[in-house]
């Protein structure tokens, strides 16, 4: 056991699964050092360095650089999965998924259903999400809510390095297409991560912090915003329970509902979207199934309904903050 960053934890998960199972391959842009390159050991490791060094261990047959063609990456991964490989495709920004919706939404997500369960599609798509990197409107979105709404896809968004490793291993071993969302601002966040392999089951929320006065459900980096708010509020005598669902599909509804039954108040902190996002989805779930437990309105803390601004002050104002969460909860409990 040692402290590892999310980047290191993901790299270790990939190496351990590739060592365990010869069917696991990686493909994407620059994952091996650039298309047409020799793929040396100190390869570039993808735009965010997650696959660094993997080609040195497993060779160019299993770590494949692709052309800059998102639809080709996803189509190749879906086809490879249908033939029995376990591809882990990397797409550097979720924002670019628009050009490969057919491969993901209409092909990979549908294979098992349309072939009557006679085929499996064990592919993983790793991609990055999140504002705060000054990368402007086309490289900063958090589109996990769109994938969550498509049946046949599993959606995973770790908030810490322990979860990142265990969830990626589970994703690779899963027989369905899994979209794995990595927040760009969390890559260097470290915590204790076992050196051994382990898998965290999907659909099991992590109760990050126990509390009795109000429930916060938060995703990916927003878990840390929620925790910061919970610490501030604890000093004021307000006890906050913070739930990190870890996967939005499948979703651990029970943990969320149990918590709201206990606290009576729900705040959802979600960077995905102000409209039709995960916050709205969780709010709908709780209104439908735990209405009698609610003692106040459900608060959705999301960015405004606008593209992510490039202006740094505006981008900072766009992302939900711990201050906003605290203010909302103080008002709610008054």
């Amino acid at each position: 056991m040692s402290k590892k960053t999310i980047r290191e934890a993901l790299n270790e998960a990939l190496r351990q699964e590739m060592a365990r199972d010869g069917q696991v391959i990686i493909l994407g842009e620059d994952v091996a050092g650039g298309h047409g390159g020799t793929g040396v050991i100190d390869a570039y490791g993808g735009p965010l360095g997650v696959t660094k060094g993997v080609i040195g261990e497993f060779g160019a047959n299993r770590v494949i650089d692709t052309p800059i063609s998102e639809s080709a990456i996803m189509g190749a991964a879906a086809g490879a999965a249908a033939t029995g490989l376990r591809p882990v495709a990397e797409l550097m920004f979720v924002d670019f998924m628009g050009v490969c919706f057919d491969q993901i939404f209409n092909q990979a997500a549908k294979f098992r259903y349309m072939f009557g369960g006679k085929t499996k599609t064990p592919m993983v798509v790793r991609t990055t999400i999140g504002a705060g990197m000054r990368t402007a409107a086309q490289h900063s979105q958090c589109l996990y809510h769109m994938f969550t709404s498509v049946p046949g896809l599993k959606c995973v968004m770790p908030s810490n390095a322990y979860d990142a490793k265990g969830l990626l291993i589970e994703a690779i071993r899963d027989d369905d297409p899994v979209i794995f969302f990595e927040n760009k601002l969390l890559y260097d966040l470290a915590c204790d991560v076992p050196d051994e392999s382990y898998a965290i089951p999907f659909g099991e929320a992590n109760v990050v912090r126990e509390g009795g006065d109000v429930t916060i459900v938060a995703f990916s980096r927003m878990v840390h915003i929620a925790e910061e708010a919970a610490k501030t509020l604890a000093a004021e005598g307000i006890s906050v329970e913070v739930i990190d669902p870890r996967t939005t599909s499948p979703l651990d509804e029970e943990t969320i509902l149990d918590s709201v039954e206990k606290t009576g108040f729900l705040v959802v902190v979600d960077e995905s979207a102000a409209r039709c996002g995960m916050a709205a989805d969780i709010a709908g779930l709780v209104v439908e199934q735990a209405f009698d437990a609610l003692r106040g309105p459900i608060i959705q803390i999301t960015p405004p309904h606008t593209p992510v601004p490039f202006s740094p002050p505006l981008e900072d104002a766009f992302i939900p903050t711990a201050g906003a969460v605290c203010d909302a909860i103080r008002k709610l409990l008054k």
Partner: protein, 372 residues
């Protein structure tokens, strides 16, 4: 000067801080040695702080809810004749000492060691007092099914005052190799003997908990090491049945919600099962190979027919320690242990983990036996 410090105790090697949950004393109270004066919660478990010194409480330093490093000053005891100025000076000086005191994470981490036995990697915690008397026989702690060396959190420190104390992780457990080929009690006992031989230990006091006690008994019966004394805490022995609901529940639980009530069965006071304890066990159970290892042991080692049955009389001193509210191993039948010199103890307000729930009482029984 009669001013004395009450400090945060160190419960085992892995503890470096604790949260003060509750004070049971107030300024003006008279405290006796061994009195439970506060409740502290660590990342593993909550437990009572027993006063190591006696006197009148003059100053409470630590506040409830505060997270304190091991060794931090919690309260000050003094006589009426000591002035407030003397006490202030004592506190000021203590804080300086505390900073220079090296009881940080590194000290504990350095004591987790590994040894290779064939294709197995065995992890163990090894601690010796600085003034270990020559010829002193080491104490070896063997945890139970699904446990690990951290179960001895509250015992290592006390035993370690006078003896070298080694707590190992059995294969399939803790930080040791998860792959396990022979999960029978005989197999585990042979592995413990091999482990001690690799450490050049010929003779040891064996302390076993639950399934670990069966392993210890098997070591004594097989005679593959010299057992100086045998301490059996809630032992899994022929005659007393192991709650099958616990064994299967522990193996099957995949979520916190499923695991918590299973772990609660271990304790008399279910409140002791903290969120962190449940998380730690879940993290262990998720490791590749653990599910298989537990199955191999449950099928083999804990099947009643596999538990050691003492045909021969054990010649070394034997202590058997039960909890009065054990929900895992209970019953009043004879335990089939034949020993020349055997004492049985029942610890009050303790479940299957008396060495955690009432560590003070268990530590006294153990150290009395070792020092006899």
């Amino acid at each position: 000067m009669t001013i004395k410090a009450i400090t945060v105790p160190k419960w085992g090697l892995s503890m470096d801080e604790g949260e003060l949950i509750e004070w049971h004393i107030a300024p003006g109270d008279e405290v006796t040695v061994g009195q439970e004066i506060a409740e502290i919660e660590t990342s593993k478990i909550a437990g009572p702080v027993e006063a190591a010194v006696a006197g009148k409480v003059r100053r409470i330093i630590a506040e409830e809810g505060e997270v304190l490093p091991v060794g931090a000053l919690m309260a000050v005891l003094a006589e009426d004749s000591d002035t407030d100025a003397d006490i202030d000076a004592f506190i000021a000086e203590f804080e300086v000492q505390d900073v220079s005191d090296d009881m940080g994470e590194d000290a504990g981490a350095a004591d987790i060691r590994h040894i290779t036995l064939g294709d197995m990697d065995i992890s163990y915690q090894d601690f010796s007092p600085a003034d270990l008397s020559p010829g002193s026989v080491p104490v070896v702690l063997i945890h139970g099914f699904g446990g690990d060396s951290n179960n001895w959190l509250f015992n290592q420190g006390k035993i370690g005052e006078t003896h070298r104390v080694i707590a190992l992780d059995l294969p399939g457990h803790g930080l040791s190799t998860k792959k396990i080929t022979d999960g029978s009690i005989a197999g585990l006992s042979a592995m413990v003997a091999e482990f001690l031989a690799a450490l050049d230990i010929e003779q040891a006091h064996l302390v076993g908990h639950s399934m670990g006690a069966a392993v210890a008994v098997q070591c004594a019966l097989a005679g593959n090491i010299q057992v100086a004394s045998l301490s059996l805490i809630c032992p899994a022995l022929v005659g007393r049945s192991v709650n099958p609901g616990y064994i299967s529940g522990f193996q099957q639980a995949r979520t916190r919600k499923q695991l918590k009530p299973v772990l609660a069965m271990l304790f008399s006071n279910a409140q002791l099962v903290t969120r962190e304890l449940v998380d730690d066990v879940l993290k262990y159970k998720r490791l590749d190979g653990v599910g298989d290892a537990l199955r191999v042991i449950a099928d083999k080692g804990l099947g009643a027919g596999e538990l050691p049955l003492a045909e021969q009389t054990l010649m070394m001193p034997v202590s058997i320690i039960w909890g009065d509210n054990d929900k895992i191993i209970n019953g009043t039948e004879s335990h089939h242990i034949k020993a020349e010199n055997c004492h049985e103890y029942v610890i009050e307000n303790a479940g299957h983990m008396p060495h955690m729930e009432n560590a003070g009482a268990v530590n006294k029984i153990l150290t009395d036996l070792f020092n006899d």
